[in-house]
């Protein structure tokens, strides 16, 4: 099998992983000659699925001793198998990077022999890139479940970001679909990374110069739609991970049908709109001061699919409105549908010098069709009359479904709702 064949097998196996961001490492490693981490969010290409290609996202091998049902690489699947050598991955990364095809490397692996052995192989790639190639670009390593803490700490010296995948939102889901993976072990690994990050930061504060340790922090991925866990469970798990483990990002990956799918899973198209709503809700938790339980208002504990979560919240909490854009606090403004965090900042800035009318709001490119029902402006805003009417929902929701799918991708990235 030549490198091209291996690349096809091992990139194909990695395409279900949602995380792609290359941001968060604020400075480039000193002493590097090729590669930097200064360009936040550079996507070097896009595939027809609308997702960006920013990293060389591959598996070191797709052989695996685990049998997780949702995974195409589980041991009981008949998918074709391949294994890269350490040198092959190093060379591919460098050659792709030098041609400006990629922003860095995202390396994951099936588990071969033992967790520690597999982790050592991943570390070998990163270490070689840093020390022999003097590569300063982005490296994201996916830690292997149950790998020992000392190896995770070594990985953090070479990688910009580490991730430990939570995989599924609840312990019961894990038991059913990924019997080898245990929530306490997963969270134990995350806590190990968090402790080391905290320790590094404390040393920096105290004036020491500790070695770099995952400057871009840690992230995780959760598969959505493979089990019947409702959105509220997904979001509660996510907010717990943000607060307890201090994660930078939780990625939600709509369960996608996989070739060689396990018969225990239903074949279906991925629930992309649900995935998108979860990203929006995630944003509301992190940057808008919402709590997981208040965002999900529907009786079945799932996010509404036809309207965004902030609009859904506003419709269910009309007593909170209207909000006066010229007087309201930052926290209040953040809760207005159609006004994103950046525009809240702009509004607060502008109103120090002049008051805002509805025309100004349109100039700021707030989503006026949603916002207009909820705000007082300097001039008369006739749309406000609808605030207490029963048909407000039908007036405020997007006019066509197509439109919603259109803006889904960009707002999933920016999170503005």
């Amino acid at each position: 099998m030549d490198v091209r064949d291996k690349l096809q097998v091992l990139a194909d196996a990695a395409k279900y992983d949602a995380s792609c961001a290359s941001s968060g490492a604020k400075t480039t490693r000193p002493g590097s000659t090729i590669g930097s981490t200064e360009g936040m969010g550079i996507c070097h290409s896009y595939t027809p699925d609308g997702r960006c290609v920013s990293l060389l996202k591959i598996l070191l091998t797709n052989y695996c001793i685990y049998d997780c049902q949702y995974c195409v690489n589980r041991i009981s699947s008949d998918t074709p198998r391949a294994r890269f050598t350490v040198d092959e991955v190093v060379s591919l990364t460098m050659e792709f990077y030098k041609r400006n095809y990629i922003e860095g490397l995202f390396l994951s692996s099936g588990i071969i022999q033992t967790s520690d052995y597999t982790m050592e192989q991943l570390i070998a790639v990163a270490k070689k890139l840093r020390t022999e190639q003097r590569y300063g670009g982005y490296i994201h390593l996916k830690t292997i479940p149950n790998a020992s803490q000392s190896l995770i700490e070594e990985a953090g010296l070479w990688a910009d970001r580490l991730s430990v995948n939570i995989e599924l939102p609840t312990e019961g889901d894990l038991y059913k679909l990924a019997p080898e993976k245990k929530k306490p072990q997963i969270e134990g690994a995350m806590a190990g990374i968090r402790d080391k990050i905290d320790e590094t930061k404390q040393e920096q504060k105290a004036g020491f110069k500790p070695p770099r340790f995952t400057p871009a922090g840690q992230s995780t991925q959760m598969i959505v739609g493979a089990t019947d866990a409702p959105d509220v469970e997904v979001l509660k798990t996510a907010s717990q991970l943000y607060s307890v483990q201090n994660l930078r990002r939780v990625y939600y990956s709509a369960y996608s049908p996989i070739p060689h799918a396990d018969a225990r899973l239903p074949g279906q198209s991925p629930p992309l709109v649900r995935e998108h709503r979860l990203y929006q809700a995630d944003w509301l938790i992190r940057f808008y001061g919402f709590d997981a339980s208040e965002i999900v208002a529907e009786a079945d504990q799932n996010l509404s699919l036809d309207i965004d979560p902030k609009l859904a919240w506003a419709l269910a909490n009309r007593h909170y409105f209207p909000v006066d854009v010229n007087k309201a606090s930052r926290e209040e403004l953040l809760r207005v549908p159609g006004i994103g965090a950046r525009n809240v900042k702009r509004i607060l800035n502008i109103r120090r010098f002049q008051s805002l009318a509805s025309g100004d709001m349109k100039k700021l490119r707030v989503a006026w069709n949603r916002a207009k029902f909820f705000v007082l402006t300097a001039n008369h805003n006739p749309a406000l009359l609808n605030l207490d009417k029963l048909d407000l929902r039908s007036k405020a929701e997007p006019k066509t479904k197509q439109l919603m799918l259109f803006d889904a991708a960009s707002s999933a990235l920016s999170g503005e709702v």
Partner: protein, 467 residues
């Protein structure tokens, strides 16, 4: 009315500084860009030095200078006068003008700046270096890129920092730049026809691009918004897009149609308590895979519940299936002998198989029907593996000996090669000392007598090594 020629941000800044110091109102200046001509083309327009007015210029917010630097790269001809008008307002009573993003002038400037920033961002993303041959041994990379605005000088320092240890050039129709690992050198514009046309690595890159695309999630509009079609000609992977899109529906359907495996595994039959007695009881009714339909009975592991060593075979054979005990047939006899020679008592160990039901094919022979052993497939192995894991958890052995490739691959993974790694001690998630050796049946089937006796010796040695 004064006419002023400017080409670059620096020209504009010098002129603007002097005009401002002389109190020239924006309505009294006509700004003319490098390629544009004024109505009075013959008259030499005054240069910055001619304008006089050495007086002190009032300070302007730093943010404005940065904004102006970006807007200066925009191709719109009105940019110079818009910048001067804004500068005038900033210094004539509207110091906080830039904060008022809803102001018409500020709004236009902000939009222009956004367009330039986006263009720079796209340049950082879509420049594609191609490796070219050079006389000296150093690698040399060249890219050709068409940007919407004149942004090369704003973007080049980024490439110098990122690719500092490389020789590279970026060619654009307006201007070109070269990095020699020390400094940036700017030169004239270059047409696309003079740029290198290929790189051997593009094939690998396209293979990656096609493989990372998930046909189950097509979103063409999102792709085109982020990767504008006008950049496609310089992106080698873009030529694959049509085909990928055409094949996507069929590929996604095929992904959904072809599932494999069984709806259940042994995990669904696990008893509440994980002791060996409960496990054996529960396993006797296991229906996780179809093998239970033809086999006589479940053949569960046997031996000491506190065994230090667990031996793991592939699956029960004909005799085992009838008697209900593991390793009682010809292979079992051979194993007994080998254990004895290695100095291990069979009653001290625990012996089991990866698959607990006999898999076979029936053939007609002159003397009646015969049941021929068939190797279990990966689905059957992994449907049954939870029993083995439960046995290992209940016993907690210090040593696991895998007999044959099937057992070894179930515990080490499918890339395990028994001919290569036989007898090597490895650590697995189940046990610190795990080794693999020949399956006794493989020794019995070996035709070559010398090889057979060698394998037998190795089996004994491997067993003795973990005694």
């Amino acid at each position: 009315m004064q006419s002023i020629h400017v080409d670059t941000f620096d020209d504009w800044r010098d002129a603007a500084r002097r005009l401002l110091a002389s109190g020239v109102s924006p309505t009294d200046v006509q700004w003319i860009g490098g390629t544009e001509r004024s109505l009075f083309d013959d008259e030499p327009s005054p240069t910055a030095a001619d304008l006089g007015g050495e007086g002190t210029t009032p300070s302007v917010p730093k943010a404005f200078l940065e904004l102006a630097r970006y807007v200066a790269s925009h191709r719109e001809s009105g940019r110079w006068s818009l910048l001067y008008r804004t500068l005038w307002r900033l210094t004539h009573g509207e110091r906080h003008l830039l904060e008022v993003t809803t102001d018409d002038d500020v709004y236009r400037l902000t939009q222009m700046r956004k367009a330039v920033s986006r263009d720079i961002h796209k340049m950082k993303a879509f420049v594609r270096f191609r490796k070219v041959d050079t006389i000296d041994a150093e690698e040399q990379f060249v890219a050709w890129h068409r940007s919407d605005h004149r942004i090369l000088r704003l973007a080049a320092p980024f490439f110098a920092r990122r690719f500092s240890g490389m020789h590279w050039s970026i060619l654009t129709p307006d201007e070109s730049v070269t990095w020699d690992q020390t400094s940036l050198h700017y030169g004239p514009g270059v047409p696309a026809s003079e740029a290198p046309s290929e790189d051997a690595l593009e094939d690998l890159w396209k293979a990656y691009y096609a493989s990372i695309f998930n046909p189950a999630r097509v979103k063409v509009a999102a792709m085109k918004r982020e990767m504008p079609v006008r950049h496609w000609p310089t992106l080698p992977e873009a030529e694959l897009i049509d085909d990928l899109l055409r094949e996507a529906p069929a590929r996604a359907d095929a992904m959904i149609q072809t599932n494999e495996g069984f709806a259940e595994t042994a995990a669904h039959f696990m008893p509440e308590h994980g002791d060996l007695v409960s496990l054996r009881q529960a396993a006797s009714t296991c229906r996780a895979c179809p093998l239970h339909q033809c086999a006589t009975q479940t053949v569960f592991g046997e031996g000491s519940p506190t065994a230090r060593i667990v031996l793991v075979g592939e699956q029960p054979g004909d005799r085992e299936d009838i008697e209900g005990h593991p390793f009682v047939g010809p292979a079992g006899k051979l194993l007994d002998e080998a254990l004895k020679q290695a100095g291990i008592e069979r009653r001290e160990v625990y012996i089991t198989n990866v698959v607990k039901h006999f898999k076979f094919r029936e053939t007609e022979t002159p003397r009646g029907k015969r049941r021929l052993h068939q190797k279990p497939d990966s689905r059957e192995i992994y449907a049954c593996r939870p029993w083995l894991e439960a046995e290992l958890a209940a016993i907690g052995p210090q040593v696991i000996v895998c007999l044959g490739a099937t057992a070894a691959q179930a515990l080490f993974g499918r890339d395990f090669a028994i001919t290569k790694d036989r007898g090597n001690v490895m650590r697995t998630d189940w046990c610190d000392i795990t080794i693999a050796t020949w399956h006794p049946a493989a020794i019995l089937r070996m035709q070559d007598a010398a090889r057979q006796s060698q394998m037998r010796t190795q089996l004994v040695e491997d067993l003795a090594s973990v005694k």
